[in-house]
Symmetry: C2
Subunit: 348 residues, 2 copies
């Protein structure tokens, strides 16, 4: 906590918290008013300015005080391939929130490369950003402990450091997908898994839970772990499993890229098992059979992370590391509502 | 030009250009070696280091000299909605190139809002970036003249300032699309236009040229200017034009988002005119009728812009403003190869 001004420890002056309290608003609002007032109602802005005047602050003092110990008004965002719409949504949303508080976002994009990620993070820290948002890779993140800036992890936690994490309810999402298929009588459901990220493990756990609750045993030969998390690998695995003597009647694809590969393979084979994807994607509703997905608000993932990081960076949020979990919901479009008997409809 | 060291004007010392010449490489390579050597072959890196030693430089002097007058190793990138794959590709590619030279990228994303764009640019300039890559909005950009940093425009030129521009051959792309449709006997081709960006105007010009060359008159009632550049507007316009007594037998959708709206409308109406889109998009080949598009290498757009900006920022490229134009090519997938007689096939 350092809301008081530096260099004046002897005379306890009013702090930004006093400004916020007097105006009856949050510190984020004070920050926005000082930084131009975008997204703040006139009346509210006036109240904040009045409080600042009454407490005898200069506006640039306020701006400084809202960034104690740091002059930086940049946040860093480290995530995967921006052409994956999942990452693009997070980037867009966090940029919006940061911008509203006068913060710029420095971007580091590293795709599935723990060493590259580490390098990118260290590089960004050396640029004295006010905080880091990271969609972490699987490596150990203990090296972040000495970074001296707040860190918020997005989408998945990291090992080696205690920090805020904003994520979706992966286990719940996996459960919802499996429940939906089980309810329609499917008992042989394949699950196509990207390499072992935390998120994927949780989706599998939910998938198993739903089976247990329904009294249906998971056929372990249908739990398919891909060597790579791309559409090509999913296409190959789908072809293989569908050509077995006893193919599944339904497939749960654990990421948006994997569902593309699953559908490509099924199109070639002329088979129509039920398909449920994880994460919604553009044009899902326009494919020959519109695709049922488990979806969550990815933009909100980015917004929540940016808000939390700004509060950490300004020192207004000093709680222990938080864990924010956003819900998932099923979007029924057709592919996930095929009955177990539909598998070979086209092939007959 | 300021490759010589500051504070030593009296004794003309060897410059970075001398290092590059002696090593037989470009200045970009010298920069990469000094910044860690990523993406440079061992043998080349050794040559560069030898040249640096021979000329009596310290490595950090070299690094400094490569960024004359600026300590900054950040570039700014200002573009539209990151969830548009077009912008995401540019961002990803320019990040890669900047990263290879040890530069970070600060991102400003502003969607079709000239005032917001101006604010974002000024904000980024105040952060003392080494250069700006901008996908410009339509407003006047004369305010950039005093920015004191190099600017490279991406995808479209801006008014009010002379600067480098990297773009695709929009006119050629429009021509290719129309030629393809005309060759198949279409004479009533609608063109769906997003609001009047430079790029869209050029695509229309190419469209008209192809008609003129083929001796086919453009029916001006089929030149459809949308109020907004989104899928919804394109869907509405397509519905209207297809319900006219004399509908077109082919449609050219001038952006990737517009083609989505066109296809939605046609799906509802059960009509199948030929369709060609501009810019490729994910899943285009998986739609009920795979979509023919005019495509260009969008990632190369980002890479070229970043390379050019780095050379401007380092002072190694002092040519007058350049204009780099990347070619377009047709990808035939089915929707663009329907004959004029196919329009009402489904509706019969």
């Amino acid at each position: 906590m350092s809301e008081t001004f530096p260099n004046q420890p002897e005379h306890p002056r009013p702090t930004m918290i006093d400004v916020a309290r007097r105006a009856g608003v949050g510190l984020g609002t004070v920050s926005r008013v000082v930084n131009g007032g975008h997204g703040v109602r006139d009346e509210t802005a006036q109240r904040v300015r009045a409080a600042i005047d009454e407490l005898g602050f200069q506006r640039n003092e306020v701006a400084r005080a809202l960034r104690p110990g740091k002059k930086s008004t940049s946040l860093a965002l480290v995530l995967g391939d921006l052409t994956n719409p999942f990452y693009a949504s997070i980037a867009k949303a966090s940029l919006e929130i940061a911008g509203q508080s006068g913060y710029a976002v420095v971007l580091g994009s590293v795709d599935e490369d723990p060493e590259g990620e580490k390098r990118a993070i260290k590089e960004l820290v050396s640029r004295q950003v006010a905080g880091l948002m990271i969609v972490p890779d699987q490596g150990d993140h203990a090296f972040l402990q000495g970074a001296g800036v707040p860190v918020v992890f997005v989408d998945r936690p990291a090992t080696g450091i205690e920090a805020d994490i904003v994520m979706v309810d992966n286990e719940g999402g996996g459960r919802i997908a499996a429940e939906h298929l089980l309810r329609q009588g499917h008992e042989r459901i394949a699950i196509i898994l990207a390499p072992s990220y935390y998120t994927i493990g949780r989706r599998l756990r939910g998938f198993r839970r739903a089976h247990r609750a329904a009294g249906v045993e998971v056929d372990e030969s249908l739990v398919i772990q891909l060597p790579e998390g791309n559409a090509e690998a999913a296409e190959k695995a789908t072809r293989e499993v569908m050509l077995r003597p006893d193919p599944p009647t339904a497939i749960f694809a654990s990421t948006n890229f994997l569902v593309e590969g699953v559908l490509r393979a099924l199109g070639e084979l002329g088979q129509e098992p039920a398909v449920v994807g994880f994460d919604d994607f553009r044009l899902a509703d326009m494919l020959p059979t519109p695709v049922t997905v488990v979806a969550s608000d990815i933009a909100e993932l980015g917004r929540s992370a940016a808000r939390l990081l700004l509060d950490r960076a300004s020192g207004t949020d000093t709680r222990p590391p938080q864990r924010i979990v956003l819900p998932c919901a099923l979007i029924e479009r057709g592919s996930g509502e095929r009955p177990p008997s539909a598998v070979n409809r086209k092939a007959q």
